[in-house]
Symmetry: C2
């Protein structure tokens, strides 16, 4: 691009599998001059922008802990030079991940910004389990909540549980034991639960159980971040519950082949 026609596009990379990008995201990447990449994004996404300069700005990536203000200045600088800057974020850019702050900063700086949606990890987790997030026999909706709060406090788990909705908990693996223990105060111990690590990617691994067992099962299976924790009766419709109601299973998918490894 030339002149002052620079802009920033926030592109949602989806949960990992490049096939889960939208057609629009692929088109935008193909027209990018500069790509800013978060660390949880599948690094192979850069193959869709072979002409672009790629800058990794992940919080735990190679340049560890790129300050948010620096990322925002970087986007503004390239856009002002007339570049089409594509800021790639995992999942859907508008769910967690500080898009709100970046949008505000860009808008404040007078930079044109567009947004391309994508598939958030909890949807991919549900797809891996073969279950609707909102089976109408069980609930009226789903709550997407982060366990990782700015002030290191906790969400009001009991208030969330009291709504009767499916809970899709992001960034909760470091405190899965305590959050499940708190939820047990408001939900039956037997409430179905699942953990899906790397949902929607080739490395996806899943564990199913109950609110009372899922933390131990996930630890035993070696699951850690990034993972989605799903809780609610709708999750009990997952195929793995039908296969193995009294035990639990670890599932993974690689190159489209499903392996089921059961444990007693």
């Amino acid at each position: 691009m030339t002149g002052n026609e620079g802009k920033v596009t926030l592109v949602s990379a989806g949960p990992g599998d490049l096939d889960l990008l939208t057609l629009k995201a692929a088109k935008v990447l193909a027209s990018a001059d500069v790509v800013l990449l978060d660390d949880l994004v599948n690094p192979e996404i850069v193959t869709l922008a072979p002409q672009a300069r790629v800058i990794r700005v992940g919080k735990r990536g190679g340049c560890r802990s790129t300050p948010q203000a620096f990322i925002e200045r970087l986007m503004q600088r390239y856009a002002r030079r007339g570049s089409h800057v594509v800021r790639v974020k995992g999942g859907d850019a508008l769910l967690f991940g500080r898009a709100g702050e970046e949008l505000a900063a860009l808008r404040h700086a007078g930079v044109t910004v567009e947004i391309v949606n994508g598939v958030s990890s909890a949807f991919a987790a549900a797809a891996g389990l073969g279950v609707s997030l909102t089976h109408r026999d069980h609930c009226q909706g789903v709550i997407f909540v982060t366990a990782h709060l700015r002030d290191h406090s906790e969400p009001d788990w009991q208030a969330l549980a009291a709504t009767g909705m499916t809970l899709a908990i992001y960034m909760g693996m470091s405190r899965i034991e305590s959050l499940c223990a708190t939820l047990v105060g408001a939900l039956p111990t037997a409430t179905p639960a699942a953990v899906v690590q790397w949902a929607g990617s080739a490395n996806e691994r899943r564990v199913t159980g109950t609110l009372g067992t899922i933390a131990a099962h996930a630890r035993a299976a070696g699951l850690g971040s990034p993972a989605i924790i799903l809780v609610g009766n709708a999750i009990g419709e997952a195929a793995s519950f039908a296969i193995s109601p009294a035990s639990f299973g670890v599932n993974s998918r690689e190159a489209g082949v499903e392996h089921l490894r059961r444990r007693a």
Copy 2:
């Protein structure tokens, strides 16, 4: 396909714009033998499956009120004949829309079923407004809830409001006045709110306001179903609030061009 290799793929059509389909959805449609189409899906999606037999099964479509059991039998019949049946649902198939029942029926019948995720309308609505659903200055998450319950009861709006999360209300336009009035019992009247009709499609129209004004504004602008109602302080970050804090605006996008029509 031949022999007994039939299967059903639940494909998420996203919010309308065909460019918001995933690459995977486009590939699956290209391999479909039979396509079952819901009524809220962009009918042009059939151009991605030119070889397929298309059956419209929308609840308010041409064949009005196709019974759910008939749809499920139809999918099973074609799959058993060896066809690749692609069941297309608007938004993400795993959020509302009875995917849970269809998955259970197919699983019970021993039919192989796969799921392809997509972009749900509330994400597209947020993108249209230029706002994160979960700006971390304002909330810890977002609740996706349907106002259209099976037993014609209402969700517990006050319990939902009490969580402090952004509310993304699906299928609420027929009762927007009453649900806003109920929410005002638990949230300040000045809480930012928006209605986005046909989010993520060429016909998208948006109205912004507050919990106290949004119902009247949406009616005055002639907005109806299908629409997403968004409520919460995170929604107040929308560009239209910055443009016009004291009034309200109706926005639409057609072919990528944004028109802003302001009212006093």
